[in-house]
């Protein structure tokens, strides 16, 4: 199956049809009548149609990138965390409000090869693309165990978005006290014949990349970066590759083969 569903050209106005809080997160549901079915790992650029600007520091100005959390025909879900003027505005939307959306964009996950099992590993709001990917893997009767890391109990509420996750929290309030990479080490110690699918903050992804490189385990990393456009126009969202160049996360990713990357830079 193709890893890229083409986006309709240009941004389109979509209506917010649902908003629910999940601990520290907001799940926004929008209607996308006739919209194409995104591939797991693809993302959208989102902005509120009203009140986009004039927030903290007179921002936001540019749209923000969000992985698709879940999709069914005519409906999309996104997982948001209020961390700045853009996400604050989007988190404040209510059903009936409208957003500008461009997508689906980028390249999604590729299925595991060589009979490897999928092993999903997420951190924080990086849980989102793993939910739609787990849905697809489970629907194809493939096992898709998930390991999720969060800061604290309020954030760990996001673990409810996946089926049967093992959870780690920084403060130990839920599950294992420590990092999600502790759980990943344990899972790979049990069985290394896996493909790791990871999304989360850059330091977590760098740890996953280094760990998988050391063990020779294939890994696909869903990266994020500040983006202006999401379709390759601005060249802003680059990550360094092993060959000394850069690739754009928005068109060459956001899902990138960990083996192609020199490192996942922390900003």
């Amino acid at each position: 199956m193709s890893r890229r569903t083409l986006a309709p050209f240009g941004r389109r106005a979509l209506e917010v049809t649902g908003r629910r809080e999940l601990g520290a997160y907001v799940v926004l549901e929008v209607a996308d009548p006739g919209g194409p079915a995104p591939r797991p790992g693809q993302f959208f650029m989102l902005a509120a149609t009203e009140g986009w600007g004039g927030g903290e520091d007179e921002r936001p100005f540019l749209p923000r990138a969000f992985s698709v959390l879940r999709a069914r025909p005519g409906r999309l879900e996104f997982m948001l965390e209020d961390v700045g003027p853009g996400t604050a505005r989007l988190c404040a939307l209510s059903p009936g409000d409208a957003i500008w959306a461009t997508g689906p964009l980028g390249l999604g996950f590729a299925a595991p090869e060589d009979d490897r099992r999928a092993l999903l590993c997420g951190g924080g709001v990086g849980t989102a693309p793993l939910a739609i990917w787990q849905d697809e893997l489970l629907a194809a009767a493939r096992p898709a165990p998930a390991l999720l890391g969060f800061r604290d109990a309020a954030h760990a509420a996001g673990a409810a978005l996946l089926a049967n996750p093992r959870v780690a929290t920084d403060d130990g309030s839920v599950g294992h006290q420590g990092l999600v990479t502790d759980l990943l080490v344990a899972a790979l110690d049990e069985d290394e014949h896996a493909t790791v699918y990871a999304c989360g903050p850059p330091p977590m992804l760098e740890a996953v990349r280094a760990l998988c490189a050391e063990r020779g385990v294939p890994a696909q990393l869903a990266l994020e970066a500040g983006m202006a456009c999401g379709f390759g126009a601005c060249f802003g969202c680059v990550v360094p590759t092993r060959d000394g160049g850069y690739v754009r996360i928005c068109v060459d990713g956001p899902v990138l083969d960990a083996a192609a990357l020199a490192e996942v830079p922390a900003h």
């Binding site: 986006a7 500040g226 126009a233 990550v239």
Partner: protein, 300 residues
């Protein structure tokens, strides 16, 4: 309205600014809808240099009040890569191609202009003069005498229309425009981004940007663009391509009223890949309502 621009007849006045629209990447994201509904009346390439460039280390972007600082560093495949890989794809676009080039020396520029001149797919050449002189460290385009010498050197190398993309980061932009005109440029384009700095949000004593400084674009620079385009259009007789923070047909009309012949859209395309089409339609509606171009514009 079908503006004539340095020998090119354009279907409408809206172009893209160089480096703000990668049509090849956009085709990967949107498919053939991009070709069927291409938003611009001519396509300006990103800056091509003689040798390949990887571009600046990230972070490369910083959002400002109503604007964006970019510090991209002109990544490109180099002249040979552009001609071999990109040009055949860009030639599929339904509009004339303008290739933007930058060279640090007269020899580099000559090689670029001669190679681009030899390709029939390319309709015009735009010269990026926001390039530091290796000896003085100043942008070539910041010094009218140096700019005139550089343009005069390459003018005989091509019969294609030659557009000079002026730098706004200099004391006397109209003098630079006049120098380009005197050396034989067929048009000038402005404004390029304004030099800008982005403090690190968690460490204000250092820059957020990997390459420390960048260029500001978006609505934040619109009023500056109007002033510079107006001053340049009053000084030179050659056509002016105006740009800087254009988000609507009204903004485009304002630049036309300031003396521009065509208008380029840049940062607004980041917010909406099809913004150029919307802006063109809004501009067309303004003209239709007013009955003529002059009445559609307002004084600023």
């Amino acid at each position: 309205m079908r503006p004539r621009l340095a020998g090119l007849e354009l279907a409408h006045p809206i172009l893209n600014g160089s480096g703000t629209y990668d049509a090849i990447a956009a085709h990967r994201a949107f498919g053939d809808a991009l070709l069927e509904r291409f938003p611009f009346s001519a396509y300006v390439s990103k800056t091509i240099t003689l040798e390949p460039r990887a571009g600046n280390p990230p972070p490369r972007l910083y959002e400002t009040p109503a604007g964006l600082i970019n510090s991209i560093g002109l990544p490109n495949k180099g002249l040979d890569g552009y001609l071999a890989d990109d040009l055949p794809e860009l030639a599929r676009l339904p509009v004339p191609l303008i290739t933007n080039v930058m060279g640090a020396t007269a020899g580099e520029l000559a090689a670029l202009v001669e190679a681009v001149d030899a390709r029939a797919e390319i309709a015009a050449i735009e010269l990026n003069v926001s390039c530091p002189n290796v000896k003085t460290g100043l942008d070539i385009g910041a010094d009218p005498r140096e700019l005139e010498a550089v343009v005069a050197q390459i003018r005989p190398l091509t019969a294609k229309p030659l557009i000079v993309k002026l730098t706004p980061n200099t004391a006397d932009v109209p003098a630079a425009a006049a120098a380009a005109e005197a050396a034989g440029a067929d048009a000038v384009s402005l404004i390029n981004t304004l030099r800008a700095y982005a403090p690190h949000p968690r460490a204000p004593d250092r820059s957020w940007l990997g390459a420390r400084t960048g260029g500001l674009s978006g609505p934040a620079v619109r009023a500056v663009a109007l002033a510079q385009v107006r001053a340049v259009a009053q000084r030179v007789a050659i056509p002016v391509i105006g740009m800087g923070g254009v988000q609507s047909g009204r903004h485009a009309a304002d630049l036309l009223a300031a003396g521009a012949t065509a208008v380029a859209v840049g940062t607004e395309s980041f917010r909406d890949a099809a913004a150029g089409t919307r802006i063109q339609h809004e501009l067309s509606d303004l003209f239709a309502k007013s009955g003529d171009n002059a009445a559609a514009t307002r004084s600023v």
